[in-house]
């Protein structure tokens, strides 16, 4: 008996000694303060990617990984939403705005040695256009459907008409009608170009629908052989542990940084990511909790970076639920909530109060929208004048098990808003549900009155914000306001940039007079790194290449 006790004590002691001496998981090579040619960087993500085929995903973590391995015809200048050449060096738009001719770079190869050329580009576009069956599920091809609409089977009209490859370096995209936003859309990760050889060899288009109707790709392309042209190549992927990529030695472009091995490690909890960073297990991570900003800022071994504000957090109002159909009630809600206090308290200085449904950085932002000051007495007055007896009953829902950049702690926001509402002139019926699938399902089907939600932009276009919300009648908002629908329709198709901007400004004014919901915050989400990592450029749409990052 005593023997086994001694033995366990010995093992324990040995491990502790080993821990103190060696395995810190420090990824910076020798860490001697000099630049390594082949540094390893481990980055903490919030979850595993779903699959590594850009055409089939819409979640942030899949996109993050795909961004490193693949490239598209155009891309964004790191840190901005400006479209710059990618695999295409230049392009010309036809007079009628329906044909885009791209001149492609020469001498580029995919990771498996296949040549990159116009044929490969058209192969990819046609592949997406020809998706059938379950690949047409929005769960699979969300972004194709958002940008282009339908597929080759003609069930829904499509913006895409065809792709031509007259020679190796020229690819022409033909559209069915002119579009003002197509270039910005082509910079999306979902339209990156993959190797036709790999797509075919590893059955990228094989998928099965199982008992539950869930589509999963059965080929190994998307999980073991994603093949692009990007600065990093896929090496291995163990779910729940690590996705490993290595530098592409034959990359056509300039590899400004010094990362030789890039590892994405999924760690679900923000506090766990922070602790891993402090312990040296990772050298950076995304989605920093606001309560950790102070800790990171105060630590000289660490640094905090912020993405430019490109989102909006809001309280949605479903006008199908009385009394939210009454503008007076909506105004009273707007005046009853102290948005400044919430933004000051819960966003650690990285948020600003929102006055409309898109952030100032987006074209079409209006400086003249109606403002709703925090004034609970005014709110009570408005309600009484409109004939209501105070307190007015409303229901309000918030999601659990989720953290979004615009809403890091939904429960905290919820409680603060409820407290404001109840102190003023309302009686709140509190509801909640798990973010996915229940909460979103309920919101989309108009089952809540008030609800907490938000949105991060996909690309730098106002249509991606207010167009998504208010261009058509939707159960989540429960209203039918033809004036607003028409204004947004007109603005979307307008090709002259200045007119377009003006139209969106006017639309925003209309919207905030109508007050379909209460926007309350734009945030600058935080990323954390160890102090020896330089060159990372936070992007408003989270398109952040690691090829420009240096670990010292």
């Amino acid at each position: 008996m005593r023997k086994s006790l001694k033995l366990s004590a010995l093992v324990l002691a040995l491990s502790l000694i080993a821990a103190a001496c060696g395995g810190d998981g420090d990824g910076g090579g020798g860490g001697g303060g000099e630049e390594e040619a082949d540094a390893t960087l481990t980055f903490g993500t919030s979850a595993d990617p779903v699959v590594l085929d850009g055409a089939l995903v819409s979640d942030g973590e899949s996109l993050r990984a795909i961004d490193q391995i693949f490239e598209g015809l155009v891309t964004l200048d790191p840190g901005t939403t400006e479209v710059v050449p990618g695999l295409a060096e230049s392009w010309e738009i036809s007079d009628d705005g329906m044909s885009y001719t791209f001149t492609l770079r020469e001498g580029v190869t995919f990771h498996d040695g296949t040549d990159f050329n116009a044929e490969a580009v058209c192969f990819n576009f046609d592949r997406w256009y020809n998706f059938t069956g379950t690949f047409q599920n929005p769960s699979a091809s969300y972004y194709w459907q958002t940008v282009f609409g339908g597929f080759s089977d003609g069930k829904t009209p499509s913006l895409y008409e065809s792709c031509e490859a007259p020679d190796e370096t020229t690819a022409t995209l033909n559209l069915t009608k002119p579009s003002a936003s197509i270039l910005g859309a082509l910079a999306l990760t979902n339209f990156t170009i993959a190797s036709p050889t790999a797509l075919e060899e590893y059955d990228a288009d094989e998928g099965r629908v199982d008992e539950e109707g869930i589509f999963s790709p059965t080929g190994t392309y998307a999980t073991e052989h994603p093949t692009g042209t990007g600065p990093f190549m896929f090496e291995s992927w163990t779910r729940g542990e690590a996705l490993t990529m290595v530098r592409n030695e034959d990359y056509w472009g300039e590899f400004e940084g010094n990362i030789g091995t890039l590892i994405f490690r999924p760690i679900a909890e923000g506090s766990a990511r922070l602790q891993a960073l402090q312990a040296g297990d990772i050298q950076g991570y995304d989605l920093v909790d606001p309560q950790d900003y102070e800790t990171i800022d105060g630590d000289d071994q660490l640094q905090l970076l912020n993405r430019p504000a490109f989102n909006v957090g809001y309280v949605g109002m479903n006008q199908a639920v009385k009394p939210l159909d009454d503008i007076e009630v909506r105004k009273a809600i707007a005046h009853a909530v102290d948005r400044q206090e919430i933004v000051d308290g819960f966003y650690a200085g990285q948020g600003v109060v929102a006055h409309e449904f898109m952030p100032p950085e987006v074209v079409g932002y209006s400086e003249e929208v109606t403002q709703y000051e925090y004034d609970p007495d005014l709110a009570t007055q408005i309600l009484e004048d409109a004939g209501y007896t105070v307190p007015v009953e409303i229901d309000f829902a918030y999601p659990t098990d989720v953290s979004r950049p615009y809403m890091p702690d939904p429960q905290a926001n919820f409680e603060a808003i409820v407290s404001d509402l109840e102190e003023c002139c309302f009686k709140v019926d509190k509801k909640s549900a798990t973010w996915s699938p229940d909460y979103l399902d309920n919101v989309d089907n108009g089952r809540y009155g008030l609800y907490l939600l938000g949105w991060t932009g996909d690309f730098g276009d106002p249509d991606n914000f207010v167009g998504t919300f208010f261009q058509t009648e939707q159960p989540a908002w429960g209203f039918n306001n033809q004036e607003i629908f028409d204004a947004l329709d007109a603005a979307e198709v307008e090709t002259d940039p200045d007119t377009r901007e003006q139209l969106y400004v006017e639309a925003n004014n209309l919207i905030m007079d109508f007050l379909p919901g209460l926007p309350y915050v734009h945030t600058e989400p935080g990323l954390a790194f160890t102090a020896n990592v330089t060159g990372y450029r936070p992007s408003p749409v989270s398109l952040e290449p690691f090829s420009i990052v240096t670990v010292e």
């Binding site: 506090s271 309560q291 919430i342 308290g345 918030y398 407290s419 509190k430 909640s432």
Partner: protein, 298 residues
């Protein structure tokens, strides 16, 4: 069944009050049990008189909204939470919830479990087999998962949680009572009573049950402690009461588990509140067990 035990049973039949009196005396003289009673008393008082003792209402904002709320100091003995509410006041009101949860969930488990156990033990035969198989089935799934499953089905809310946790304790009580009754059924005094024609129900209710009750009481006390911890665990996993303003101890810990760096007080104080209450209950349970039968060691 040894002669000594039969005699003890006879004694208990003759003077039930004497047995309880002895037990009470032994309990009184047990220092650990008294410590337990004091702890539980403190929390009960805190729970009942929360409105009088608490310096602030539990949901009133008395400080700023903050992601890094202030710790103890500045007039707040345990600090503030992220909504600017006084933690000490919230914990006091939370004591009500915890004790309520402990009592009600064990009550539910006890009531249902006793019915099943008595049925199985006394009636026997196929009733016994069926009931015990169902209990086995319930025990085959770890209790936390059963509780999680029930809460997911029934929705979040204090009532649902108490029911869910209560249900998970049913097999324990059922088995216990059944075993106790089975042991008693063959007792000499029972056989003797039956042979002179004492009706079955009177025997069951008047003698067998009261004699089987002692271990059940001990188990109930101990189960109360685990019930409190299990509810805290459910809250921690995000399945706690739906109203976020309820100051349930486990929920407060869950909400602030990711603030350990900056606001450890929000995790430590409720955590130790749970620990102390549970220790108190466990001490009482142990004390009861020793008091009722000092020869019983496990």
């Amino acid at each position: 069944m040894s002669i000594a035990e039969a005699q003890a049973a006879e004694l208990s039949l003759e003077r039930p009050s004497g047995l309880w009196r002895d037990a009470f005396d032994r309990f009184r003289r047990n220092p650990a049990a008294l410590v337990g009673v004091s702890l539980v008393l403190i929390f009960t008082i805190a729970a009942i008189f929360a409105p009088q003792i608490a310096p602030h209402p539990p949901n009133q904002q008395v400080g700023p909204l903050s992601t890094n709320p202030a710790g103890p100091g500045g007039g707040h003995v345990m600090g503030l939470d992220e909504q600017g509410r006084d933690l000490f006041s919230r914990l006091l009101y939370g004591a009500r919830l915890s004790l309520l949860v402990g009592i009600v969930s064990v009550g539910i488990g006890l009531a249902i479990g006793l019915v099943f156990g008595a049925l199985a033990g006394y009636v026997g035969g196929w009733v016994d087999t069926v009931v015990m198989r169902v209990m086995d089935l319930m025990l085959s799934i770890p209790s936390l998962l059963v509780a999680i499953g029930l809460v997911t089905l029934l929705g979040r809310g204090m009532v649902q949680i108490m029911f869910a946790v209560g249900v998970t304790t049913v097999p324990i009580f059922a088995r216990l009572l059944r075993g106790s009754i089975l042991g008693q059924r063959e007792a000499d005094y029972v056989l003797a009573a039956r042979s002179v024609g004492v009706p079955g129900r009177r025997l069951l209710l008047g003698h067998i049950l009261p004699n089987s009750i002692a271990p059940v009481i001990v188990q109930a006390t101990l189960t109360m402690a685990t019930a409190i911890i299990e509810v805290a665990g459910l809250s921690f996993l995000g399945l706690g009461p739906g109203d976020p303003s309820l100051p349930e101890w486990g929920k407060i810990m869950a909400d602030n588990a990711n603030r350990l760096e900056s606001a450890a007080h929000l995790v430590l104080f409720p955590g130790f509140a749970i620990v102390l209450t549970t220790i108190g209950i466990n001490l009482i349970g142990d004390g009861l067990r020793e008091a009722i039968d000092p020869k019983l060691k496990s």
